[in-house]
């Protein structure tokens, strides 16, 4: 416990070191810009900016990326409300009542409410995660190599079954990611695997190269092919007085805000579950508990407060699961996991032992980033709303150049640029044919660790290493994930069958 308190304090103090503070501030600004441009999203932002921070110390690099990831949903509410175009996938639910409010001339109020709800949701979830750390750390320390190997597999199955529409395709993506991770020099035997005599592959495929390709180029191609552009050319007025009225409305509806925050946080803790579920569940509970549920969808402020609280609240839960267990809470955390490895920090028991102060710094950073982002968005909503109208076709060449610049930031070699292109085409095809990209990234990031834990487990415990209590519980969870749909169908047919017979 004294170690925990010391780490808690050290983490807080580290946040205020000038390089960390500056990196977080820049991360917040970039997160706001990325969030407000529809079609980009935090995953893309993390992927493209990762190469530029890898030479920084872990606190600075991860502080920057966590700040960026925490605030994209805050800014994403602005185009969702004003233009009926969600800035990120987690702002879709906000659009349901946000845009109707704009049509009624209450757009500024809706934005004020969205920004304030986002801020409180993010800050509270960060504090919840900070409070839960003393409980999580001892749980994590109980895990040995068999449990860790099975845990990695469980995380992969979560990601594969809950992202994308096909379980089989998700699993194929995840296991392919593991296979990709094994390319290069085998650490224990010294064998070169699938390097084809290419010197640059001796160290294996770099996570940044993979992520830049799969998400950087892949997402860009997808957006261009879909022909995404902005819809509204007309300016929208956002007077400050109305925005502050919206902010006050969050206090008047504090019950909705608090419940939505808890929903978002709890969903964030569950590995592999995306934030959209949190937003729609929060929206649903706000509607069910409202005195006028029939008004939802026509432009009520509760319909904006609920999803915006939830989408920021999930970040604290996501980050806690990612850091404590090495299992990402959401697809963007799968990419963040790669960033942790890139700066030399291994999430999971290793991080809880050796880098606990860093974990606290990042959680404090989530709270800090949410406050700063809200203040920035309040001050700059009118010009930010204009950025949201920039067509994707204008941004395409600039983003393409930045992605390739990212590949050169690591090492100046056309081979890495070529790999980025190859993975970009793969990422694009995966999206077209509904294969889970987060599962591929997760498999890749955890592939080497999985190999190491598997070998140690086999050597120390034999072929039945998975027969430990924790491993068996995890295996039961995996089986449930595969079969829950079939169980539901069976239950319904039995129940209906009995009801008919009765």
């Amino acid at each position: 416990m004294p170690d925990m308190l010391e780490a808690f304090g050290t983490g807080f103090v580290t946040l205020f070191q000038p390089p960390v503070l500056l990196a977080m501030f820049v991360g917040v600004i970039l997160g706001v810009v990325i969030g407000i441009i529809p079609g980009i999203g935090s995953i893309f932002g993390i992927a493209v900016l990762m190469p530029f921070v890898y030479r920084m110390p872990p606190e600075t690099a991860m502080g920057f990326l966590v700040a960026l990831a925490s605030v994209t949903f805050t800014a994403g509410s602005i185009p969702a409300i004003l233009l009926s175009i969600p800035g990120t996938a987690l702002n879709v639910a906000t659009m349901l009542d946000g845009f109707p409010m704009t049509r009624k001339g209450q757009g500024a109020q809706a934005i004020g409410a969205a920004l304030t709800a986002s801020m409180f949701g993010g800050v509270i979830s960060a504090f919840l995660a900070l409070l839960m750390m003393p409980l999580i750390v001892p749980m994590v320390m109980v895990m040995r190599t068999p449990e860790l190997a099975v845990l990695i597999l469980t995380g992969l199955v979560f990601m594969a079954t809950l992202t994308g529409s096909s379980v089989l395709k998700g699993l194929i993506s995840g296991f392919f990611g593991i296979a990709l991770a094994l390319v290069g020099l085998q650490g224990q035997t010294g064998t070169l695997r699938f390097t084809f005599g290419i010197v640059q592959l001796y160290e294996g495929i770099n996570i940044v190269t993979l992520v830049l390709g799969i998400y950087g180029i892949g997402s860009l191609l997808e957006v261009m092919v879909l022909g995404q552009t902005t819809l509204s050319e007309s300016p929208v007025k956002t007077p400050f007085k109305s925005m502050f009225q919206g902010a006050r409305a969050v206090w008047h509806h504090k019950g909705i805000w608090f419940r939505s925050t808890v929903v978002g946080y709890l969903i964030g803790i569950l590995p592999g579950v995306g934030g959209q579920l949190a937003c729609f569940m929060a929206y649903g509970q706000a509607k069910q508990t409202s005195k006028h549920p029939e008004k939802f969808g026509t432009g009520v402020i509760e319909g904006v407060i609920a999803p915006e609280s939830a989408n920021n609240a999930k970040t604290g839960g996501d980050l806690l699961t990612t850091m404590a267990f090495g299992i990402p809470g959401a697809p963007d955390m799968a990419v963040m996991l790669g960033a942790f490895f890139m700066v030399g920090v291994v999430p999971g028991p290793s991080m809880m032992k050796e880098h606990l102060p860093l974990a606290f710094t990042l959680l404090w950073g989530v709270a800090f980033a949410n406050i700063i982002a809200t203040l920035i968005c309040f001050a700059t909503t009118p010009p930010l709303a204009r950025i949201a109208r920039v067509p994707i076709s204008t941004l395409f060449p600039i983003i393409l150049v930045v992605v390739v610049a990212g590949s050169f930031a690591l090492k100046v070699s056309m081979f890495y640029a070529f790999l980025v292109l190859l993975f970009g085409v793969l990422g694009f095809l995966m999206t077209r044919f509904d294969y889970s990209r987060p599962a591929l990234i997760l498999g890749f990031v955890l592939g080497e660790l999985f190999e190491r834990y598997l070998f140690y487990a086999l050597k120390l415990h034999g072929p039945f290493f998975f027969l430990t209590p924790i491993s068996l519980v995890l295996i039961a969870i995996m089986i449930l994930l595969f079969t829950h749909r079939h169980i539901k169908v069976l239950y319904r047919s039995l129940f209906r069958g009995n009801a008919k017979n009765a």
């Binding site: 530029f52 194929i172 094994l182 064998t191 699938f194 191609l221 395409f396 060449p397 150049v401």
Partner: protein, 156 residues
């Protein structure tokens, strides 16, 4: 029987994994091959099941629509946009290889914006500002060399 492009992608993945499994059998140590055999085997099994499902679903669709579906205008437009986006991307990479990163970046930004309706001034100024920021970032921020391209490496 016409196969959907998604199934071609899956077939390609299965062939790739079959090669991986075969090649990994030649590795000298057990530790080298175990996970490739495991992952490859699982992917081949899951892929075979998925491919069977896709082909069956395709057969069902053909039977109900009597003769198959023709390509729609939306499909043709999407194919054109795909080729265009891929073309610009591959062209940029080739340009970087030959002319260097900064020159290729300037050409692709200015050319793309100009082709999509931007004025000459806007296209050129956007290109110049972007490469200026990148130059400063590489030279002073990252202290890293910028790729000069085959042509300019030879000249200088």
């Amino acid at each position: 029987m016409k196969i959907k492009s998604g199934s071609y992608f899956l077939i390609f993945m299965l062939l790739l994994m079959a090669y991986v499994v075969g090649a990994s059998l030649t590795f000298p140590f057990f530790e080298d091959k175990l996970l490739f055999l495991l992952m490859g085997g699982i992917i081949l099994l899951l892929g075979a099941v998925q491919l069977t499902r896709e082909l069956r679903a395709r057969n069902k669709t053909l039977k109900t629509t009597k003769g198959g579906t023709g390509e729609t205008d939306a499909g043709r437009l999407e194919r054109r946009q795909t080729i265009s986006a891929l073309g610009w991307t591959v062209g940029f990479f080739l340009g970087t290889y030959l002319l260097g990163f900064l020159v290729a970046s300037a050409l692709v930004i200015a050319g793309y914006l100009r082709l999509h309706g931007s004025s000459r001034v806007r296209a050129v100024s956007t290109a110049i500002i972007t490469i200026a920021i990148l130059y400063v970032m590489f030279q002073f921020g990252l202290k890293a060399e910028i790729y000069r391209g085959v042509l300019f490496s030879w000249l200088f």
